[in-house]
């Protein structure tokens, strides 16, 4: 009886310590994986912060288009977007301009300096903290059609792109440059630091489809020569290097075999 009480006490205290220290991160729901809350100026303007869903956008566009050609930063709130930027057709306003279309559907307009009660419904499409059941349903409709994955938002985006289920737009008239095709670097292997863990196969080919060069070099990866940038899994889980995208938008790093994939 005494031993049972002691075990119970240890478990209770242990759970309390873990809860108090906040070591257990809450896993986002599949439809919320990759959501970013942008709150620079919205609240000053009496609006809710913007909740940006990556899945809505990445099913149509490459990361590069938004993070290079349109100029969005790689971390929440770093871009300092104002409503006036959008109404001048920069940032969100590049596509959300009331006339652009995607898959023959008109994209709703972004910010306006003044709006009617009716138009306010458009504002809360982005400035919303409450869950939108219609959006959630749209996510599950998309997920059903896509190759599945256990982690993240349950979609294997890489496979969807490879198999042609996603046809990504990488340039926009009037925004993107006309670029010649790129000579892609070969895949290479990185040695795993833990015994028994397969080596990592890094594919430039797979990454450049979505990102081009500038998203990663030199802001995320400074070293050019293989092995020049030293990092550990702790750095990655801390949101640096691969962790800038993986865990946040791209598949989570807990999905070990996606990177540690070299046959043993």
């Amino acid at each position: 009886m005494k031993r049972l009480f002691l075990v119970g006490l240890i478990l209770f205290c242990g759970a309390g310590v873990l809860w108090g220290a906040g070591t257990k991160k809450k896993k986002p729901l599949p439809q919320d994986f990759g959501s970013v809350t942008i709150s620079n100026f919205s609240q000053q303007a009496g609006m809710a912060p913007v909740v940006f869903d990556h899945w809505v956008h990445r099913k149509n566009y490459t990361c590069r288009l938004c993070h290079v050609d349109i100029g969005f930063g790689m971390t929440a709130n770093s871009t300092q977007i104002r409503a006036v930027d959008n109404s001048k057709r920069f940032f969100c306003g590049v596509c959300h301009n009331g006339s652009s279309t995607i898959n023959k559907v008109k994209i709703f307009d972004s910010c306006a300096t003044s709006y009617t009660r009716e138009e306010y419904k458009r504002c809360v499409k982005c400035h919303a903290l409450e869950k939108d059941p219609a959006k959630e349903e749209a996510f599950y409709r998309l997920q059903e059609k896509m190759p599945r994955e256990t982690f993240g938002n349950g979609i294997n985006w890489e496979k969807a792109e490879e198999t042609g289920q996603l046809k990504l737009i990488d340039s926009l008239e009037g925004v993107s440059f006309k670029k010649s095709s790129m000579k892609v670097q070969k895949d290479f292997a990185l040695k795993g630091k833990v015994d028994g863990m397969p080596d990592i196969i890094f594919s430039h080919q797979k990454h450049t489809v979505w990102n081009g060069c500038e998203v990663c070099h030199p802001d995320i990866f400074v070293g050019i020569k293989k092995g020049a940038t030293k990092y550990s899994m702790i750095d990655l889980f801390d949101g640096r290097y691969c962790g800038v995208c993986h865990d946040k938008v791209a598949f989570p790093q807990s999905d070990c075999k996606r990177c540690h994939s070299k046959p043993v």
Binding site: G73, D85, F177, C213, E214
Partner: protein, 100 residues
């Protein structure tokens, strides 16, 4: 055509020219920007001199963009820094290789 009408036409033409010039100037820096940063795909294959020239162009463009209105400045300074950093990164790599 009377002298007064003629003067009016000349004044209108001069005004139109004056208004068109800033637009042309804006187009000029944007064309330079496009031409400079559109080459990032080829950065790996460029010579040290080509990369140095592109960096000089980026620095000159930065000065022009800094004089633009806030939204333009925000977007284009970010875009410029991405391509400038890539060129600088490649230049460093090539110079290190030459030194070896």
């Amino acid at each position: 055509m009377s002298f007064v009408t003629m003067k009016g036409v000349i004044a209108a033409a001069l005004l139109a020219l004056a208004l068109a010039q800033p637009v042309r100037a804006e187009e000029a820096w944007q064309a330079t920007f496009d031409d400079t940063c559109a080459r990032s795909n080829q950065a790996m294959a460029m010579s040290v001199q080509e990369l140095r020239d592109l960096l000089d162009r980026c620095d000159a463009l930065r000065k022009v963009i800094e004089t633009q209105e806030e939204s333009v400045r925000k977007v284009y300074l970010k875009r410029l820094s991405l391509c400038r950093n890539l060129y600088a990164y490649m230049l460093e790599y090539k110079q290190n290789n030459q030194a070896k």
